[in-house]
């Protein structure tokens, strides 16, 4: 019972498993009526369905894939990329039940308070609400991620078993902690489809339809509401779903694609009156070997390099800028991780010897580590997804991503690393070498988090956001968007925990909507 009961799926013993439906066996021309359609069976859609279990709301979840990877379904993701080298669109996510949780790394961390704030130095920043609005949902989201108790920045707990954190002088960088979705004694994090599949089958007010590709959001003729959904299968079957309300939860790329492609009533697409859908695309750059960090006495707690089990959780430390430092120096969030040991060149050895002796420190046991990082990008309206003339197997227009990363994004992260170096020296702990300066050098070590965000951004003003504070598409009262595509700014935290908290918040809103 455990986890499932806590997410609203009770009475397991009394409820039998209800098989998933398969869109390929639904007669062509059928119209399915329902209260709520959830498009997408990834973490956001599944969290929403679990949260609405055992309510009077009749729900249909439409998942494009099956219960396992299918190449022809995955191929529907294919698109093109221009600009800054980026991942292939079809490779950076997964299209079957559980969505991209089927290949996530399990890293969890709530967004920082500043991530929600409007900052004068950061154009397009600011959520319609602060972090406090999500606080009531984090513990439940954490439970769904199976990441243990929600205890993050509680260094007393973490350090009492594994040794002290790295001493840093007073300043802008501190040790923060991430938790991991791996508390089931499994090496792998929670795959939402596999983990919650049976729970979904037990929800009496939910039908999950697999192999159901939504190909169009059909608005009413006056464009004032969503009328129905066009659904198709790769085998050519076509039918409709007519929900009272719909939540679009197919990820940061497909959410935008479906809104843009549904353009027969509104030429620019649904929710795109102000040309915002698909803009502000973001991911977390993960450049490797960003710096070399020296620890003079060679002592470093194990939780900096590998996740460690403690207090029913797995945790790992990272080095991040304080919110006050971010504001004072106009830097964005970053999470620097300490990775493997590295050898130093002659200049490095000389720099350490000269510095340590000048400070009167014995560096005979010195160790050098490479530093990895997850960075935040500044919002950029020209980093965007647009439709192309090419079509996929369902006749849907394929996407093109114009990827961009600005030099200031790198410069901001460098400022944080420099501050870390200053604090290491001030505490007589160690020192740092920043390994990249030029844009070319940064790009040569670039990887990405596969965290698609921002393309249906949230803002109270329809001229600045696609959805409002309740995740409702501006101007379409019965259409909502769930997932990290609504993030107006992104932080450096991995999005899954946060987007699940947002989905749970949305579930409370929908309960109210259906009541009234």
């Amino acid at each position: 019972m455990g986890q499932a009961t806590s997410h609203g799926v009770g009475h397991r013993e009394r409820l039998s498993l209800k098989a998933f439906l398969d869109a390929r066996s639904i007669p062509a021309g059928t119209t399915l009526d329902t209260d709520l359609a959830i498009i997408g069976g990834g973490p956001a859609g599944i969290a929403l369905a679990l949260a609405l279990a055992n309510t009077p709301i009749r729900i249909v979840m439409l998942e494009s894939g099956g219960e396992a990877f299918e190449p022809n379904t995955q191929a529907l993701y294919a698109g093109s990329e221009t600009g800054t080298p980026y991942l292939k669109l079809e490779n950076s996510r997964l299209r079957y039940l559980g969505g991209s949780s089927n290949h996530w790394g399990g890293w969890c961390r709530p967004l920082d308070a500043i991530d929600f704030e409007q900052r004068s130095w950061l154009p397009h920043s600011g959520w319609p609400f602060g972090r406090a609005e999500l606080e009531p949902y984090f513990a439940r989201a954490q439970s769904m991620c199976e990441a243990g108790p929600f205890i993050y920045d509680d260094p007393e707990r973490w350090t009492q078993s594994f040794g002290a954190s790295i001493p840093l002088g007073e300043g802008g960088v501190y040790t923060t902690y991430m938790q991991f979705s791996k508390t089931r004694d499994s090496y792998l994090p929670t795959h939402f489809g596999e983990r919650y599949g049976d729970d979904l089958k037990r929800i009496p007010n939910l039908d999950v339809v697999l192999h159901a590709n939504v190909t169009g959001l059909q608005l009413a003729a006056n464009a004032g509401s969503l009328d129905h959904l066009d659904v198709g299968t790769l085998q050519g079957n076509r039918f409709k779903v007519k929900p009272k309300y719909t939540v679009l939860a197919v990820g940061g790329i497909e959410n935008a694609r479906l809104l843009l492609a549904s353009n027969d009533v509104m030429a620019a697409g649904v929710g795109n009156s102000y040309d915002l859908v698909g803009r502000f695309f973001a991911d977390h750059p993960i450049p490797g070997d960003t710096a070399t960090m020296i620890v003079f006495n060679g002592a470093i707690a194990s939780y900096y390099q590998q996740p460690q089990p403690a207090f029913g959780a797995y945790f790992r430390a990272a080095l991040a800028p304080h919110d006050a430092f971010k504001n004072r120096h106009a830097v964005l969030c970053s999470l620097a991780t300490i990775e493997g040991e590295v050898q130093l060149d002659g200049l490095g050895q000389a720099a350490i010897a000269a510095t340590a002796t000048a400070l009167g420190i014995d560096a005979a046991n010195m160790r050098a580590f490479t530093v990895g990082c997850g960075m935040e990008l500044a919002p950029d309206p020209d980093r965007r997804l647009t439709l192309t003339d090419q079509r996929d197997a369902l006749g849907m227009p394929r996407l093109q991503l114009a990827m961009r990363i600005s030099d200031s994004d790198f410069a901001r992260y460098r400022d944080t690393l420099k501050e870390l170096g200053r604090q290491l020296l001030a505490a007589r702990t160690g020192m740092i070498r920043i390994n990249h300066k030029s844009r070319e050098s940064w790009l040569s070590v670039m990887d990405w988090g596969n965290h698609h965000m921002g393309t249906t951004r949230m803002h109270d003003d329809p001229r600045q956001g696609v959805v409002d504070a309740n995740s409702q598409v501006h101007g379409i009262p019965n259409l909502y968007v769930a997932g990290s595509s609504v993030f107006p700014t992104y932080g450096a935290s991995n999005p899954t925990l946060n987007l699940i908290a947002l989905a749970l918040r949305l579930s409370d809103h929908l309960k109210t909507v259906f009541k009234t």
Binding site: G169, T292, G348, A353, A354, K418, R422, L425, M431, R433
Partner: protein, 128 residues
């Protein structure tokens, strides 16, 4: 008795003991004098008063060469004047701490160093 004593204590161990004592004395002298003997001797230069404060002048010089390479405008005399004023009444370690507190940092091929140390290293490179 005398014969017995002679037979009990042979000449070889006595000589070995004497040699051992001398050996220890010689090795001790070498050990005591080694740092002075091994210490790198630098030709006298205009910045010796400052460079005396740099404990590892050789490695400092290596770092300093990189500092100069990145600072084409580096002026040794001007820098020396500035460092003399700064280090007149404070130790190098304390001056470095003050640099760190004031965020006076120099980046040398990526290495983040306190300003005073970096400039002192540059003088060491100039003097080499």
């Amino acid at each position: 008795m005398t014969q017995d004593w002679k037979s009990a204590v042979s000449r070889r161990p006595v000589l070995s003991g004497i040699l051992a004592v001398f050996g220890v004395a010689i090795m001790g002298s070498i050990a005591l004098e080694a740092p002075r003997l091994a210490r790198r001797r630098y030709k006298p230069g205009p910045f010796d008063d400052l460079l005396a404060k740099l404990p590892d002048r050789d490695n400092g010089g290596r770092v300093g060469a990189a500092v100069i390479a990145e600072m084409p405008e580096f002026g040794a005399t001007r820098t020396a004047q500035r460092l003399r004023a700064k280090l007149a009444a404070t130790s190098l370690a304390d001056a470095m701490s003050a640099d760190l507190a004031q965020n006076r940092l120099v980046e040398v091929r990526g290495w983040i160093l306190p300003d005073t140390l970096a400039n002192l290293c540059a003088l060491a490179a100039k003097a080499a």
